[in-house]
Symmetry: C2
Subunit: 140 residues, 2 copies
């Protein structure tokens, strides 16, 4: 029995996702038909610090897989196939919450991001480039 | 000269937006042509607390107006017209930063949200309904 060996095994294991508890009525209300392609944008946000990590697309099946597995599944518009985030890169997303917007055509997915981050470039967020900055006007 | 009168005038005035300083090269790199409709999703996020407030759509002109005015402009896919957030409701968004994602087909817009919030229902965020919740798996 080696503490080192046991530790290495535990550290390298990939944790299972945990299925979400689902509001079935609200799930049925998502308007996948709106855009004609059966997809809605899913904004993936870090559950711990609120960083918007990426935007990808889900159809009804990708959302079902996400809720059932507790890990994010998307549908690739270019490759026309389902993909599970991190399955190749190891940068997995474990889902804590899925929200839907007022008119049912966009999702927010709150995740625990594992690995390097969400972006294929190695950046933590896909939104690492700034087009413009200004002072805004702080709310009164 | 009445203090009350002067105060009332100041309180009811609508602040002007402030134009953003723009990275023109990065602005040109936004891939509006990707989806065929000339639009990209714009995720509007509260600059102060990170709440995802809403998702709307911008074409090149809506983005140009947003950067130039310092207030958020979108393009309505259903009404097929430009609209400036808060122009009717008074719930204006003053823009602090616009980011673009790794492949240039999505934007994050960081705003100071004035008024009640971003949602036409009166909620602060359009994402006020939760489809599913779970424990996630905290990152190691």
């Amino acid at each position: 029995m080696s503490d080192t060996g046991a530790g290495a095994t535990a550290a390298s294991a990939v944790p299972e996702g945990v299925a979400l508890t689902v509001d079935e009525d609200l799930l049925r209300s998502v308007d996948f038909a709106k855009d004609g392609d059966g997809l809605v944008p899913a904004i993936v946000q870090d559950a711990t610090d609120g960083t918007v990590l990426t935007v990808a697309y889900m159809d009804a099946e990708a959302l079902r897989r996400t809720l059932a597995s507790g890990r994010s599944w998307f549908y690739s518009r270019s490759r026309k196939e389902y993909w599970q985030k991190g399955e190749t890169s190891g940068d997995r997303q474990y889902v804590r919450e899925v929200r839907v917007d007022c008119d049912g055509d966009a999702l927010v997915v709150l995740v625990d991001q594992h690995g390097r981050g969400a972006c294929h470039t190695g950046e933590r967020t896909c939104f690492y480039r700034t087009i413009g900055t200004g002072p805004g006007v702080p709310a009164p």
